[in-house]
Symmetry: C2
Amino acid sequence: MEFLGEPRMELQGDQLVLRDFPPGPLDDYRKQAQFDWKKMKLFLEDPELLKLELKIWNRLRNDPLFQRHETEPTTEENKRLTALRLRRYVDYKFPSSDILKLPYKKRTRMMMTCNEALAVTFPEVSIKYAIGVGLFSNTIVTLGTERHRRYAYAGNHLLSCLALTEVAHGSNTKQMRTTATYDAHSQSFVINTPDFEAAKCWVGNLGKQCTIALLFAQLYTKGQCHGLHAFLVPIRDPNTLIPYPGIVVGDMGEKIGLHGIDNGFVLFNNYRIPRENLLNRTADVTPDGEYESSFTDPGRILGAALENLSMGRVGIMQESSNNLICAVAIAVRYAAVRKQFAPNGEGNNNSNELPIIEYQLHQWRLFPHMAAATVLRVFVNEFTETYLMVVDKSASTSTEIEDLSDMVSEIHALVSSAKPLMTWQCRDATQECREACGGHGFLKAARLGELRNIIDPCVTYEGDNNVLVQQTSNWLLRQRQKLSSPLGSCAFFKDHARISRCRYRVGRKEQVQTEQFIMESYQWLILYLIEETDKRQNEAQEAGADKFTARNEAQVYRAAMLSRTYAEYTALRYYWCKISKAESSLRLVLNELGSLYGLSCLDKHLAYFYQGSYASGPEMSRNVKDSILMLCKRLKSQSLGIIDALAPPDYVINSVLGRSDGRLYDNLEKTLMQNPKARSRPDWWYEIVDDSTKLQSKL
Amino acid sequence: MEFLGEPRMELQGDQLVLRDFPPGPLDDYRKQAQFDWKKMKLFLEDPELLKLELKIWNRLRNDPLFQRHETEPTTEENKRLTALRLRRYVDYKFPSSDILKLPYKKRTRMMMTCNEALAVTFPEVSIKYAIGVGLFSNTIVTLGTERHRRYAYAGNHLLSCLALTEVAHGSNTKQMRTTATYDAHSQSFVINTPDFEAAKCWVGNLGKQCTIALLFAQLYTKGQCHGLHAFLVPIRDPNTLIPYPGIVVGDMGEKIGLHGIDNGFVLFNNYRIPRENLLNRTADVTPDGEYESSFTDPGRILGAALENLSMGRVGIMQESSNNLICAVAIAVRYAAVRKQFAPNGEGNNNSNELPIIEYQLHQWRLFPHMAAATVLRVFVNEFTETYLMVVDKSASTSTEIEDLSDMVSEIHALVSSAKPLMTWQCRDATQECREACGGHGFLKAARLGELRNIIDPCVTYEGDNNVLVQQTSNWLLRQRQKLSSPLGSCAFFKDHARISRCRYRVGRKEQVQTEQFIMESYQWLILYLIEETDKRQNEAQEAGADKFTARNEAQVYRAAMLSRTYAEYTALRYYWCKISKAESSLRLVLNELGSLYGLSCLDKHLAYFYQGSYASGPEMSRNVKDSILMLCKRLKSQSLGIIDALAPPDYVINSVLGRSDGRLYDNLEKTLMQNPKARSRPDWWYEIVDDSTKLQSKL
């Protein structure tokens, strides 16, 4: 798709320049905003990181290999293009080769930003890169030792994959059945796949392309199993891409999205790898087959484990927040231009028709997602800082280990609930935005379909959402006793007695719109759900259930909801902390966005407040609902400014419906008319002309 | 995809034969069902219609043109295949050429069943047929006169489309801007598209294929506009498929689904059609340009208008219920075979792992959708009978018009809320089922992606759901005064005073599971939402808003929710009426399914019961939620039987995860291993081998 007009945000040399939008159909609403979108953008995002993103986007925009296609390529061509783009992207060496000199936190944040910039434009390339280069190097560094370093920075010489999931086992990683049996005689591990159910599958990059796999298999030596370990396993000859003997490797076949990724499966049959290919930071096998655990450096190992578990999930959170912003930007800009029905309802005068953004129902469909986009964007930016701080600390042995271990647990609980929250939120928003753009939302050029298809697998991979949230609820239940929350997410647990006695007591409707009301309600709700979960678990155990069963019986309406509300609360906590530092011209609207997000989440949980006797009578429900509608109405005039502040440039959003110029119908006309094959007769026309008609015309 | 094993349901001559399933992994759960799935199937579906479906499926299954593709064809090839299949399907002349002799109701029901059978296997062919043949013939018969009849049964000689939507107008049909101006001199209408915003668009079949359009345009004669009328407009030469001069016609380009449909746009420039091409049943223009309205036969015209409005929506309801059944069947069968985690949590012994259907959370994710599939299937079957009865009556002038008009309004209100209910339910279910099948649900061969992509546009086309529901709520608000509900959906309005005073008063938890409790709760809720809507409208009008604005201000939490609850209530009403006739061995489980559907809907509305003081204290919320979990647990043992009763044959469901043999991993293995290109090196391998590597290997 062509890039139209002068960009509103660009690099001039090393300077970030933001410019006003030229006059156009969005002017009326843009002028209603009572703040400067440029100030808000620079408040929401780090200018240095914005510059890095612009640098990447400018490069891709001018590279023929990174042009978008009007017609969907075949799956095969999609794979080829994604593979070529990945190689090119690696060659670009973003952010720059100087990066290794920077301290860990700064360096990693920049790498993450590069990933965000790539993921929001070419998500499949980003996934291939993350799996095949980023995760691989990372794991080598954190789980391997000196002898594996040479693999970590191999650039385009190697492409890797991470083979963990098996056909019959996903979330339950301990039950993986692929074996690596040490043979002292040849000093090698012999890898075997017992049957098809234990074939590694869904492995990204494995289907057609990868040359080496990071394989997780049960380590056996001297007849004993030592659990899951990671091995470097050559898959294909890098010169020919022909798989090595002893391997059956193939592509998963057609999927319902991510067509550019070659997800694959592999079965091993007495496949040998050298002993040295075990990633041996935490444990090793001696040449004669002794298993040795080497927990000499627990701080580093803990950090490594954490980073491996969470880094991918934090990346998904960042990508989700970008996709959410794109979807909402498209739908809100569309709603400000698209008109439908008029107050008098009759007559042929179009000028009376209202933009659909004026309708209560339409505001209510979109603005809570816009509020979520803002809150979750701030949250993920701020949380990333916390996250990297903890990872950094955990890699330094000087820190006291006890506190660190609690911090690592808390990070894990936060990520395990926030990744589900953000991916589900984005899933719902992309669908609602598609529907809110009507039939035009069904165009590929609208991009909402792609955004939806990208987020869909995110709820499953890197930890199935429904399984992940259980790790958070288990942690929260432990916190009630332990009260150890170094990052402060459960600090309020110590006020348990006071908070649990709180009751809904609001005079004016507007009070429910305050941070104080929303956060106190959440604190009560979280403690209530802990009680409820705990009670149900105890009841089940008293009735004879084992702990595993008792936990399962306390998921619905209890533990699962607990994780959800905790994630929402945490996101709001980070958000309000950040916006307290905003200048006053921004604070009002940022506050309203926080309130709208908080209340529209609480609205879905209202029954718990009544069930737990926090509220009784009509007021709470009525005030929450009325406040949501009031906030929607007020945010209407701010909405185009909010979108301008959140949205990346048009090239990135890449939607015919969501351009910043607001020239919806001109842009649609260009898209439809410029499509080279739109108006040509199909090549196969003669096959569908009726035979009798053809006959007639011959006579 | 290959058809495996002996079908469980087949035609032997003219006999319908149902057979037990052969032994397999689903046996354990199948045996737990306390009823005979065959009895239930024959209770849920009309055996004559089942036979008709089997006849169609058998024919398609043996036709090379109707084989499924493992790899996704290009969009162009998709269009070609769909066009060829449409021609073949028309040639098959289902159900049979005798059909014209049958009475209207029976004939139409059979045509609808044919559409269902086609839509559940080849949805795009069904859509092309519905638009290009069914809707076209129907409209000719109902809006045209004798002179148009020859177009109605043209078979493959013509393919039509329905051109109503314009680029800038969808739901607001009155504002369409395409004009048809009568020119008495040449006795023709001159069609014009004032600008791109008035181009007809999204028209199915128009993009590449159709030869004639049913065009809706503003009729002008003698300088006066008479509103929207339907015209027959030749588009392409049937011999060459080349568009006629004066038309710019093209394809909408790449979409996010329905790739086989050639949705198109068209602009007219002084394009002339003969005067006779006006469909002139309700109004005509004389040769010298006088406009004459011919309302001589209001009964017929009313029926025609109704049929044109609603027939497509009833078709969508039927298709949604079939798609919903397929999605749920796939996910429930998968859940009964797929295992994950074990009570002891440790050890490598797989045999301890539980099928995921055993988990409370998983039951709660799937079984409410299974209950919805059952209830909505019964509803749509029963409602179709009512619908056809009313259409039939309205076509006969002998009926008293007053009552009929009320009946037609009620049908319209029912359809306008039920089409949104069912399409949204199916949208949510297909997504949840995809997620519940984890990564494997992301395979194209799982079919959940296709089911989701088919339902997605259904929430927009044939009346945008969010606009449609307003027609229902407007009607309901009028009913409060009028109390005229010949079909009985609002019969309880007359008990308004008594019902509004009702309060939640239940002793035992189990009482909330009864039909009586659920239906009474719904009646209270519907009346409460009518009050709330009315009150808000009045408040707005008292504050100076016009009626249009007042209505818009009362949508969220009020009118929109009112339509939703009315649709749920109506579906349950039809359902419980039907199952009261079930034999006792089926009644218990059917009752539980009704209760689960009702309660899981009410669960989402709980806050209204507290807000309206119907309930206070913990009991109602707690009992509703606990009952849902109890019902889920009880239905676990019945679930495989329910699925066997609901599900069409394997060929139709066409999912590697949802086969009735339950051999999940065998089927997956075959699918992966039989894919011809899965294990071959990509043709483009040399493009992604590193140059330096290549260099090295040359040295």
